[in-house]
């Protein structure tokens, strides 16, 4: 009798738990796509990115920034400090740049003194400037490379009287390396946040990086990275990297045991693949694993997506913009 009193509730518990687990499993367990499904999924991902880039580049504030960036007469920090072969590096002088500059159809002309840097452009027929960029704060700290690293920046851009784009950036530099970074770019209908935190305990430490873009309550993309790092006289290097990225309806999770990867070995790709696990998902379903392999000519290495069938396809064939990002020229 006692046995029954005990066993019945236990059996009931296990039955209930079993049903819950089965239901959870049915709801949360994704599957791995077949190659044709994965192929479609990759095309969807590319289409999402192409739409994103296209819409972002059409935004008036992005066009305005591109316009300002291209003007040699606009004393702005980053284009002025851009590395140019044969040109001696000149740090940006915020104090000297302060003033009001107006666009005269060909160049920015300094018109007046002020305590910030102001660019007025896009004049209408009445001589009123409909757009303005204001850099109200900017300071830097030296790091191990050029240019110096911005530790404070506050800016605002208004285009044709539309809701402003604000940029706020704060950072600290320790041992000639960024220690903390908080950057927020807030547009009329979106918000981009970047954070970095680095720690050091003797010759080891951690690095945490997050980047997130939201439009209203919708997350557009995010990237979270946690890394164990080591320190050297040159700066720091990665030992282990864990990352998780979400973009539209896809996500990538990855772990790379960089300390175990031999960059000088004859089978570098094999070493990279053995010590890393990078997977792409669409919702809960796995699209494939990202691996390093030789390209068709057998000379160069590149990133491939390996489908469930074992077939490997060049990642940049599906996502051509990756080529531009991974091979950024400065």
């Amino acid at each position: 009798m006692l046995f029954l009193k005990i066993t019945i509730p236990l059996r009931g518990f296990f039955s209930a738990a079993g049903i819950v687990f089965l239901l959870l499993g049915a709801v949360s367990c994704g599957r791995t796509y077949r190659e044709d499904e994965a192929d479609r999924s990759m095309k969807v991902l590319n289409s999402d990115w192409v739409n994103f880039f296209s819409q972002a580049s059409e935004k008036p504030e992005m066009k305005a920034i591109a316009f300002l960036w291209d003007q040699p007469s606009a004393p702005l920090p980053f284009p002025k400090e851009k590395f140019t072969v044969g040109k001696v590096y000149q740090p940006y002088d915020f104090e000297a740049a302060k003033g009001i500059y107006v666009w005269d159809e060909q160049t920015f002309v300094r018109q007046a003194d002020t305590s910030v840097v102001i660019f007025r452009f896009e004049p209408d027929t009445g001589g009123v400037y409909r757009s303005a960029f204001i850099l109200s704060d900017f300071s830097v700290a030296p790091v191990g490379s050029r240019p110096d690293f911005p530790v404070e920046m506050a800016a605002m851009l208004q285009v044709n009287g539309a809701g402003p784009l604000t940029i706020n950036h704060q950072a600290t530099v320790e041992e000639h390396l960024p220690l903390h970074i908080t950057t927020e770019l807030r547009g009329p209908d979106y918000d981009l946040k970047l954070k970095l935190n680095r720690t050091r305990e003797q010759d080891a430490g951690t690095l945490r990086f997050t980047l997130r873009m939201d439009a209203g309550s919708q997350e557009i993309f995010s990237f979270d990275l946690d890394a164990a790092i080591g320190y050297s006289r040159q700066g720091y290097f990665f030992n282990q990297i864990y990352f998780d990225s979400r973009m539209f309806r896809h996500s990538v999770t990855g772990k790379i045991d960089y300390a175990q990867i031999d960059p000088t070995g004859a089978d570098y790709a094999g070493s990279f693949n053995r010590h890393s696990q990078i997977s792409l998902f669409e919702g809960r379903h796995k699209v494939g694993d990202i691996v390093l392999a030789k390209t068709a000519d057998g000379e160069l290495l590149d990133y491939f997506i390996r489908f469930s069938s074992g077939e490997e396809k060049l990642l940049s064939d599906y996502l051509p913009f990756l080529k531009k990002i991974l091979n950024l020229k400065y």
Partner: protein, 202 residues
């Protein structure tokens, strides 16, 4: 330009060397007294139109060498590894001593290659020439050299910034170590850094 020259000097003058009688040994010797990574050894170098730079070995722990590089009124610390087999650097591993990259191996043959991979980018160092007789002018002598061509992919990040060289042609001698480096920039412009003095062979 300054950073560019310093980067070149960092590798060049940090590239200390060792005497040829050690090459017979099968074991990679790291004893500072048996290699030219001996503390106190120095190399001076210059490029036309630029101040002289001097690298002096300040530490050597089991072949891992730290050198002080004086250039333009500033002093920088650079690291490398010197063994009886060759000279290695940590430029592309960002100082990770577990990942030395051969700059030269004195018993290498023409065509020997060493590669350092970073993601899908690859730095290649290849032995392109090895003297069979004394054919390279060095101060008042003619010496043998082993020439290593380094090819750097465009856009590769080095020390947090883009590499300012696309190719480097290194010349080494087994006795004097670094002899010269001709650095080709992405626009094709070339600068040659030459060693002008060393006490390493004393």
């Amino acid at each position: 330009m300054k950073k560019y020259l310093i980067s070149a000097c960092v590798i060049l003058l940090g590239g200390v060397m060792f005497s040829c009688n050690l090459l017979d040994s099968d074991k990679e010797e790291t004893d500072p007294d048996q290699t030219l990574g001996k503390p106190g050894n120095y190399w001076k170098g210059t490029a036309t139109g630029y101040p002289e730079a001097t690298a002096t070995v300040s530490q050597n722990n089991d072949g891992n060498v730290v050198a002080s590089l004086s250039y333009g009124g500033n002093t920088y610390q650079v690291e490398g590894k010197v063994t009886s087999e060759g000279i290695y650097d940590y430029v592309y591993s960002n100082g990770d001593r577990k990942k030395p990259f051969p700059l030269v191996k004195f018993d290498a043959k023409v065509g020997d290659k060493w590669e350092f991979n970073i993601g899908n980018q690859k730095v290649v160092r290849e032995v392109v020439r090895k003297s069979t007789e004394d054919d390279t002018p060095y101060i008042f002598w003619m010496i043998k050299t082993i020439d290593v061509e380094e090819t750097i992919p465009a856009g590769l990040q080095v020390k947090g910034g883009p590499s300012q060289a696309s190719k480097i042609l290194w010349k080494f001698n087994h006795k004097f170590g670094f002899i010269s480096a001709t650095v080709t920039r992405p626009n094709g412009q070339q600068v040659t850094v030459r060693q002008t003095d060393t006490n390493a062979a004393d």
